[in-house]
Every structure is written in C-alpha cells, then in structure tokens.
C-alpha cells in the first residue's frame, strides 16, 4: 500500500493498520532527512497550510510548523487569542475566509470534541486534527507508537500502561486506538474518578494500583493531570495524587525489569513524574519530541499527495 485510506487525519479511529504502517515507513525517511546537514526537502513547494490553534499549545504547534517548513510548504499561523473569533465569527466562517486565500490544508486544534470532523464535512481542504478537546490527538498517538517501535523493535504484543487523567485525555484515547490497532495490550491506571466508565469496551483493562500496573508493563505512558479541564475536584489533593500515581526513581528501580517511560508533555515535574525519572535513560520523552516532527512530515506529505489540483 502506498496511499492513505483517508483524506483527512481526524482521529486514529478512522485509520487502518496499513495506514499506520505507511505513515511509519514514510516517517523513517523523514527522520533521516531531518538529521541531514540541510534538513529540508522541496516536496510541498506548491502547498499552503494554515495552522489554526483555538487552544494553547507549544510543542504541537512548533512541531507542525517545523514539519511543514521542512517540506517547503507555505505556512500561515493563526491563534484564537488574537483573532476575530473573539468578535463572534463562527468556525466555518473563519476557516472559509482563510481558505479563500487559497489554502490547501488546515491543521487545527480546538477545545470542542469533533471540531475537525465537523469542519471536514463543511469545507474543501484536507484537515489534520491537532487535538480536539477531550476527543483525539492522532499525531501524538502516532509519534508515541513510533517511539515505542523505535525503542522496542515493534509495538505488536507489547504491554503498555497509560497512567493518569484518562477521562480528560485525548492523548489517552488516541493512544488506546493506535495501540490496539497495532496489536498491543493496553491497561489504564489512575484514580477511579478519572477513568471513564465502560472504558473496557475499548478493549483495555483498568488497574488502580500503580505498582501492579508498572510490574505488568513494558512501557508506561505518564499523562499530565489536566487541571484546566476539570470543573470539579476529582481527587483530594495534588500531593495525594502524586503519592498514589506519581512515578519516582525509587519505584522505577524497585521493578524487576527496565520499563520505558513516556510523557506527552508538558510535564508537571514532581507531580506525575519526578525529575530524576524524566531525565533518566529509561525516559524517551525527548525522542518523542524529535519523532513528532518526522511523523507530522509523513502525515502531511501523504495527505498532500491526495490533494487534487
């Protein structure tokens, strides 16, 4: 297979295993490109991409922008803080106005779940979802799996535990879809209040004891507690959360095997993960960031090749 089965990247839910293979194979080439003395290829010279960020982001936004520039696409940036959205413009109007300037692809982050899917039905451009509320964050899940594949050889058959705020995490949901699609075993771990009911229906198991979960797994993906999405208190205090679900060096060293530690960022050092763990050899947090650029290049390249002129 040399073509994606989808025209937009809205979520991992819509992908097939072959799509993931193709994205990874393409990302391998781009990883080589971004380690060259001159880290740029001219493939997307005639493509214009708009990055629309209706929600704050550092890593994802920079990573997308860098990926686009490495492919020689023209890039325009937009963030809602300084835009007419504040004046009451609707999403479709905003995007159609941008498309009127001849934009081929839209990378969008939005606080509302399903915003990307909605947009893909109403506007004429390729849409890449860069995070829609608590729904999906497909490129993050792809780069996470890609990083696991890079460290452990393959994703199939590996045991991955996702620890933390599962309820509010689009990273968790996309990761669950991606890992299951590639044949990994997945557990989620966290305070009962932050684990959605019926999550087992996605084929994952729930474990509320961190030590047990870590002893079972090959990879631990430590999520951030998303205070900004919580309207009520889900656990008594940050200190108590850290005591029960925080990963420190002592716990890591007490395990009978070397597990791989991941974190999608931004890290709250000392809350879900201590500094000595985040900076240890077992953590691949910065590899994840580097792979993010290669993965996003692959996604954009493959989607751009499907745009009809």
């Amino acid at each position: 297979m040399s073509e994606l089965s989808v025209d937009h990247l809205l979520g991992i839910k819509y992908l097939k295993p072959e799509d993931i293979d193709l994205i990874f194979k393409t990302a391998d080439h781009f990883k080589e490109v971004i380690n060259r003395p001159i880290k740029k290829v001219p493939s997307l010279r005639d493509i214009t991409i708009a990055n629309l960020f209706f929600e704050n982001s550092t890593r994802t936004r920079l990573s997308f922008e860098l990926a686009e520039k490495r492919l020689s696409a023209d890039v325009i940036n937009f963030s809602s803080a300084s835009s007419s959205v504040k004046k009451g413009e609707t999403l479709i109007d905003t995007v159609n106005n941008i498309l009127a300037m001849k934009v081929d692809m839209v990378v969008m982050r939005h606080p509302n779940p399903g915003a990307g899917i909605f947009l893909s039905k109403h506007v004429d451009a390729s849409i890449v979802n860069a995070g829609d509320g608590t729904h999906e964050h497909p490129t993050q899940a792809l780069l996470d799996s890609y990083s696991i594949r890079e460290r452990l050889g393959e994703v199939k058959g590996k045991k991955i535990v996702i620890v933390g705020d599962i309820m509010h995490s689009r990273v968790a949901l996309s990761n669950i879809f991606a890992l299951k699609l590639q044949g990994a075993e997945v557990k989620v771990c966290g305070p009962k209040t932050l684990i959605p009911k019926h999550i087992e229906s996605l084929g994952v198991k729930v474990e509320t004891n961190l030590i047990k979960a870590l002893e079972w797994c090959d990879v631990a993906n430590m999520l951030r507690v998303q205070n900004e999405r919580m309207e009520i208190s889900y656990f008594p205090s940050t200190r108590e959360y850290t005591q029960q679900f925080g990963l420190n060096k002592k716990i890591l060293d007490s395990l009978n095997k070397e597990i791989v530690v991941m974190h999608p960022g931004p890290i709250n050092r000392g809350v879900e993960i201590t500094s000595d763990v985040a900076d240890s050899n077992q953590a691949i947090i910065l590899d994840q960031v580097q792979n993010g650029v290669a993965i996003r290049m692959a996604v954009i390249y493959l989607l751009a090749s499907k745009i009809n002129r």
Binding site: S2, E3, T26, H29, E32, V33, R36, P37, I38, K39, K40, V41, P42, S43, L44, D46, L71, Y301, L302, A304, S305, K306, I307, R309
Partner: protein
Amino acid sequence: MSQKMLLNSKEINIILHRLACQLIENHPGFEDTVIIGIQPRGVYLAERILNILKVEYGLDAIPFGQLDITFYRDDFRRSSKPLEANKTKIDFIVEDKKVILVDDVLYTGRSIRSALTAIQSFGRPKEIELLTLIDRRFSRHLPIQPDYNGRQVDAINDEKVKVHWKENQEEDAVYLISK
C-alpha cells in the same frame, strides 16, 4: 507487448569494465571522489562498478552513498500514483568532493535534475559527473548529458528500456519493451 534484448550479460560486463576504466582515467586515486547511486536502480549499477574497481584495481576505499530523490521530484501530485520513497544512506559530507552520480537509464533528465538538488543537502560538491548505463538520447526534457555512458539507445516515447540485474531479476540484461 513485445520485448527485444539490447544487451546481454556478456556485453554488459564489457561495458561495466570500460566504464570503470574511464573513471580511473579521470580520477586516478579516487582521493577526493565519491560515488553516489540513485535509488533504487542506480545503486545496483554503482555497486557493480565499485566491485570492479575494488577487485581488479585494488581501489577499496571509495566512499559510496545511496541517494533517494523522491522528495525532490517535480512530479509530486502530478503523477497518478503516489511517490514511495527509498532509503537514503550517505554517511559523508560531499563538501568539496568530486561526486559521480550513477543511474541506470538516462531518459528525460528529470531524475538527474532532482538528484542535483538533493545532493546539495549534503554539502557543496566541487564538481558533479554523471555515469549511466543507457542513454536514451533524443528524449531529453532538460539540458543534461552523461559524462560516462554505456550505450546510446534510440527509443520512441511509447517504448521502455528496462535494465535487469542478477541481484533482483536473475540475469543481467537490457530490454527494449514496446506496447
């Protein structure tokens, strides 16, 4: 569809030796010279020539790279099929080196144009030469000519020239395929 053999294994072997000797004439010790094969098919040709240089002339330290030009092509989104990449493996900088680009068939010249752009990502070479096994003259879209050439072929646009290598197709041969 019919096919006609243009070169057999013996003829290819003679040509490969001649090309190797011509390279030695211009690059006596290969001190500042690197050989870069264009993926996928130029790599087979480059490896053959390197092997002759090594076995028969003792030149075994020539830097060899494999260059994939997919991301540099000018027909992205113009061809019906998406372009699938191959591996690029160049472990050296070409800055101030003499580069010999190797490809099996020179046709429109567009691949070579892409390769010339791609090479720049690895530094600024002192000079670049082109070695091809088959030159389909009269088919060029760009002003590009080989410096070392195996055989010139006059083929019309409907026809295809296909090079087979023992490594992947059991025999060394060059075929002219017409519809």
